[in-house]
């Protein structure tokens, strides 16, 4: 039980990061982006490419950091991957979403993202192959935190959790202390009014995509560190991330963080009662439950 709880918190850390980006896009651009989870795949594969590249070019970087299975090369690759993924999100918006936005309604956007998810996922499969990849082939030994009850945690997982918390704190500072944060919140509240006050809508939309992509890239790499990198990871993650945003309330960054942890913990705790085969259904049950008791999520506001 306690092991499930700890595992759930660790899963929650990357679900939260993915959900933050999605909730911002859903709030500011007003559509459910089914292709958001594919940004996690792009990020994970991009980091993989640069990781391999650096390890062969600069063997110094191939050294492991402390007890982690992570290397300096991967650390640098994550940073590059954040930039690349953020830029690809902007590019996808420019090529597809912006043009659909100008023509059709919100649901056309949902539909376009539906199609894009299929394209991105399978192009990744074609480029990188359908088999799964790992950042490091070495076996990462779990640390025994306690023997009774038995509690095992991998050093990587601890790193992921701490890093996720640090990033969330940085985001909190961004939204509550900086002009850019205020501008983003203003755009979300009332786009026309914000523009009257000199906020550049186009730039802000690009910023939302860059942030969503960068956070997605980290989430994707963390997912890869915890499990493995596969072309279909986006398909497996899209529902839990949607569940996290809906539980937290669409548009609420703090809600997304909390929602991510709630969905992560619930999916793992559910394994105590349900056979493990049913775990992909748990996020859907969470969505139904929250729609029944609090349709706008924990922190969301009603909006048409």
């Amino acid at each position: 039980m306690i092991q499930h709880l700890v595992d759930g918190i660790l899963v929650g850390s990357f679900l939260s990061l993915g959900a933050i980006g999605l909730t911002m896009v859903m709030h500011i651009l007003r559509f459910a982006n089914f292709s958001h989870a594919e940004l996690l795949s792009i990020g994970a594969y991009c980091a993989l490419v640069f990781d391999r590249l650096f390890e062969s070019l600069l063997p110094v970087l191939a050294e492991k950091i402390g007890p982690l299975s992570m290397t300096g090369a991967l650390l640098v690759s994550i940073l590059i991957s954040m930039v690349v993924t953020g830029l690809s999100a902007v590019l996808i918006d420019k090529l597809v979403f912006r043009r659909v936005r100008q023509k059709g309604g919100e649901l056309s956007m949902v539909f376009a993202s539906f199609g894009m998810s299929l394209v991105i996922r399978n192009v990744i499969g074609l480029v990188f192959g359908l088999s799964s990849e790992l950042y490091s082939r070495d076996i990462a030994f779990a640390m025994v935190l306690s023997r009774d009850p038995l509690l095992l945690v991998k050093p990587d997982q601890v790193f992921v959790l701490i890093a996720a918390l640090v990033i969330m704190f940085a985001l909190y500072l961004l939204f509550s202390r900086t002009t850019i944060g205020f501008a983003l919140r203003a755009i979300a509240e009332n786009p026309s009014l914000a523009q009257v006050h000199g906020v550049n809508l186009k730039k802000m939309i690009a910023l939302v995509w860059i942030m969503g992509g960068a956070l997605g890239a980290i989430a994707g790499v963390f997912y890869g560190l915890s499990y493995q990198i596969t072309p279909v990871m986006g398909r497996d993650l899209v529902l839990p991330i949607f569940a996290a945003t809906i539980v937290g309330g669409i548009g609420s960054v703090y809600g997304a963080v909390l929602g991510g942890f709630i969905v992560g913990v619930a999916s793992n705790i559910a394994l105590v009662v349900l056979p493990s085969g049913y775990s992909p259904s748990v996020p859907f049950l969470m969505i139904l439950l929250i729609l029944l008791i609090r349709p706008n999520g924990l922190f969301g506001e009603a909006r048409a």
């Binding site: 199609g115 992909p280 049950l285």
Partner: protein, 325 residues
Amino acid sequence: MIGVISYLVFFTTVAAILGIAVLGLNLQWGNTGLFNGGVVASFGAGAYGTLILGGAPQESQLGGFELFYPLALLGGMAAAGILAWAVGRLTLRLRHDYLAIATFGVAVAFENVMRNATTITGGAQGIRGFERPFRQMLGDGFTYNLVFLIAVLVILCAVYIFLERLTVSPFGRLLRAIREDETAARSLGKSPDRVRLISFVTGSVIIGLAGGLYGTFYAFVSPQDVLPILTFQIWAMLIVGGAGNAKGALAGAFLIWGAWTFSGWALSRFAPVEAQLYTGSIQFVLIGMVIVGMLLWRPQGLFPERLIVSQPGRSREKTQAEGFT
């Protein structure tokens, strides 16, 4: 020659069954503006419902009620309807994209449950041992397939006529009114939530009918038949044909199913052996490109919706001249 004809019969049957599903989706998206991201759940509910109710008893498995076939098919349709009603009830009064997410979730959960609930659904092995109706009379060969095709085409026509009548009826007008301007419809005392729920459930029942026929045709259904790709295929058929136009939707069904079958055949025939593994991926990319490309360049589809003015005593030219679109 007989090989070609029997293949054509097979192809037309599957395309016509999918055409019925596209018609159901057209009622939801084309006429009402509801995004159903889990077409495959209604389809699967119809197929599983029909086969469980109409199939022969299997060892250590629920079902096998051996119901009279039309009753089994109706049961499958009811299963799809109940599922849609439950989801629609929860989501239709919320933000519009909640329905998209919830229906997508239903499809994931549906496949997951079908794969794991071995005692009810046969798990990954699916449901076997279904006796196709009139098999004793018609045998298993070409005659059976031909008769089945005719039956499917008759059902397709019935569904088509039903939907055509529905769209020109006051109810169809109400659907379009709500799709175009919900507030205006509400101000006339209409209840958009209720009307949307009716349309969503009706569409899902029709998709369930298609699923039931599909299950009957193969006399078998497994989780492999309810994978998410089917949702994308049916959506591509609708968007290519033109949402809101039933004839276009049918044309889209045959066009996309033809392109899908042909690309699969061409890839397996001409692609190098190493690339064979990726046939599915290439086809999936193509389906996704069709959806995105149509949205970008021809959102109204190849055969756009022709707005029908169901008001007696006024000619179409006149209303169009007044800019009533």
